[in-house]
């Protein structure tokens, strides 16, 4: 099956360090249905780039919403506890 | 003069057992009648010897009856009947009396007399009175032995009654011992 459905999300943090922290926190968890989709996290300066590729809109939807939920937790953590 | 007496470690009573052989039909009928009348002189548990495989088998029945009486879990009105019931693998009292009680169906039969007595009673007096009351000769009063019991039992009928036909028997061990063990097991499980 080809991963024809793609979604690239760009999250602008305050700086590269924050974006790196977010990527590192998200990366360890394995993707459910790994045979039907991939998720890749990278940074571009202060931006965190989350790239989802899947066989259908359905598989992407669940993964995206969960990742965004996690990013919100990470942001709240950084905001409250940085420095 | 021959009778057995024994005591059980956990009871204060003495067990009296006396065997009378070849008691004639008439006497046996009379004992039955007196029993039904409730005659105090006949306050024994009377057995035939067709289905008692060993003394241990008999003693287990007596012991169990006494335990049941103590626990208030006895199923019969008198200890004597309870003893007879506890020799049987089935719970029906009439059935137990038929198999184990006085057998007056033949011209003569053995009569085994069992009584649980208080310590201060004289065993000899009891035995003498029993023989006198029944009008049997002292020669008919013989010692109860396991050999005697084994000979008076029809093993095929015994196995049928205790449902032991499918049991696995070990040729190296005495059959009487094995039947004793199995029969006691069956008696202990009656009504459970």
């Amino acid at each position: 099956m080809s991963l024809d459905y793609k979604l690239k999300i760009s999250i602008p943090f305050e700086n590269n360090n924050q974006a790196e922290i977010a990527g590192n926190s998200l990366r360890p968890d394995p993707i459910l249905k790994a045979d039907e989709m991939t998720v890749d996290f990278s940074t571009d300066n202060e931006k965190l780039i989350c790239y989802f590729q899947g066989v259908s809109d359905r598989v992407i939807r669940v993964a995206v919403s969960n990742v965004l939920d996690n990013i919100k937790t990470i942001i709240e953590c950084i905001e409250q506890f940085e420095g | 003069m021959a009778f057995l007496s024994t005591k059980f470690p956990s009871f204060d009573k003495t067990i009296f057992i006396s065997l009378l052989v070849d008691v004639d039909q008439h006497t046996l009928e009379e004992v039955k009648t007196k029993l039904i009348e409730g005659n105090k002189d006949y306050d024994f548990a009377f057995f035939n010897t067709n289905y008692i495989i060993s003394k241990e088998h008999l003693l287990n029945g007596i012991h169990r009856a006494m335990i049941n009486y103590k626990n208030g879990s006895a199923k019969s009105k008198t200890l004597n009947t309870e003893i007879i019931l506890n020799m049987s693998p089935v719970s029906n009292i009439m059935e137990a009396l038929k198999r184990f009680g006085i057998d007056s169906s033949k011209e003569s039969a053995n009569l085994l007399c069992v009584k649980v007595i208080d310590d201060d009673e004289s065993l000899e007096d009891i035995n003498n009175t029993l023989i006198t009351n029944l009008g049997v000769s002292k020669d008919q009063n013989v010692e109860l032995t396991d050999d005697f019991l084994l000979k008076s039992v029809d093993v095929a009928k015994f196995k049928k009654l205790y449902k032991l036909n499918d049991a696995k028997y070990n040729d190296k061990k005495p059959l009487q011992n094995q039947l004793t063990r199995l029969a006691i097991g069956a008696c202990l499980l009656r009504g459970t």
């Binding site: 998200l26 990366r27 996690n70 937790t73 953590c77 | -």
Partner: protein
């Protein structure tokens, strides 16, 4: 114990501080613990600096779904961590390590919490320690009660196990063959629409205190294992028959001795009496088996007073028997136990790389190498 717990101490610092994050079921807990250098002993106890908890509570008759439970944890975790630090009077950077529940538990809630742990670890540059939830209960119970080497009865919503230590593992001697005790109580509570606030098991316990008549229920013990599914389905049918909203279906059940009607309170009482008898029985079996005379009860159901009372009656009849139980601060899932067990790991040099911080729903108690004990 001859294990050296201070091989990794920081120069010039004579204590350790650990943060613990727990979220394997419907409780979110965060706590800070302090160990001084040296062996833990009656003279050198671990110190609880803070222990904060928030529970996701569902309406009567409803269980908690992973999705909503994860949402609860996610939306509360930062506030609870903040409160825990304030209560402890410390800054994040004062800590030595961050400990989190790695399993067993519900996947989504576990994951929603570990995300915070990973972020904090990077912000404060602290190592992460993944902790087995059950080992957390055991170590905290041992520490709080001083029970040195007890047989542990672990009873909670998801677990029912009899555990004893042997050769650096907490080994499972007996466990449920089907559902967990807490699950059994919760599901019964749902049938009777008993409130989930503060917890269904707590409300069953209060109702059971008013119960008078014992209804005979199935009793299934197999060796040191037990089964509860049969009891549950039996009493569910009874309860549905008795208290059906359809009056035509209402069947009354009468107590044989008194002739009185069986009430919901009687059912709660009967259920507790039967289930707890089984638990105490298998605990006693395990004690006899490993020749131990100490019992430690941990897990949420462990705070039930009747269970503790029955266990005490059992233990009192054994030579030199002693029973140890903690109150609901430590019995019910909490972050402090994760901090404590995690700190023991940390002091032995067992830490997790970021890539090894994935949570797992299945994580057996006996998988953990108990490096901090060698008795």
């Amino acid at each position: 114990m001859t294990v050296d717990l201070d091989k990794f101490k920081k120069p010039g610092k004579d204590y350790y501080l650990a943060l613990g994050l727990e979220g394997s079921a419907n409780k979110l807990g965060v706590g800070v613990i302090k160990h001084n250098l040296g062996q833990l002993s009656s003279e050198n106890r671990a110190e609880v600096l803070s222990n904060v908890r928030d529970t996701y509570i569902t309406p009567p008759g409803e269980g908690f779904l992973p999705r909503d439970t994860a949402r609860h944890h996610r939306n509360w975790v930062v506030r609870i961590i903040k409160k825990s630090l304030v209560d402890a009077g410390i800054k994040g950077t004062d800590l030595d390590c961050i400990c989190f529940t790695q399993g067993p538990g519900m996947g989504a809630p576990l994951q929603s919490v570990v995300i915070a742990a990973r972020t904090l670890s990077q912000l404060w540059k602290l190592p992460l320690i993944g902790v087995n939830h059950c080992v957390g209960h055991i170590e905290m119970g041992r520490e709080i009660t001083g029970a040195n080497n007890p047989v542990v009865l672990y009873v909670s919503g998801g677990n029912t196990q009899i555990i004893a230590y042997s050769r650096q593992r907490y080994r499972i001697f007996g466990e449920t063959l089907d559902i967990a005790i807490g699950n059994c109580l919760d599901r019964f509570a749902r049938v009777l629409k008993i409130s989930n606030d503060p917890a269904p098991g707590y409300n069953i316990e209060q109702m059971a205190k008013k119960g008078k008549h014992l209804v005979t229920l199935p009793y299934t013990v197999k060796g040191m294992d037990l089964s509860m599914a049969g009891i549950l389905s039996y009493i569910e049918v009874l309860a549905k028959d008795l208290f059906s909203s359809n009056p035509k279906k209402n069947k009354n059940l009468i107590d044989e001795e008194s002739g009185e009607l069986i009430t919901p309170e009687d059912l709660c009482y009967s259920l507790q009496e039967s289930l707890f008898s089984m638990l105490v029985e298998i605990t006693e079996r395990a004690m006899a088996h490993v020749q131990s005379n100490q019992v430690l009860i941990v897990g949420g159901v462990g705070s039930n007073e009747r269970l503790q009372e029955m266990m005490e009656l059992m233990v009192n009849e054994r030579k030199n028997g002693s029973i140890h139980a903690t109150d609901e601060r430590f019995c019910i899932d909490n972050g402090i136990m994760i901090a404590h067990a995690g700190l023991l790991s940390y002091r032995m040099g067992q830490i997790n790389d970021l890539k090894d911080t994935v949570c797992t729903q299945r994580f057996r108690t006996d998988e953990v190498f108990v490096s901090w004990r060698d008795d």
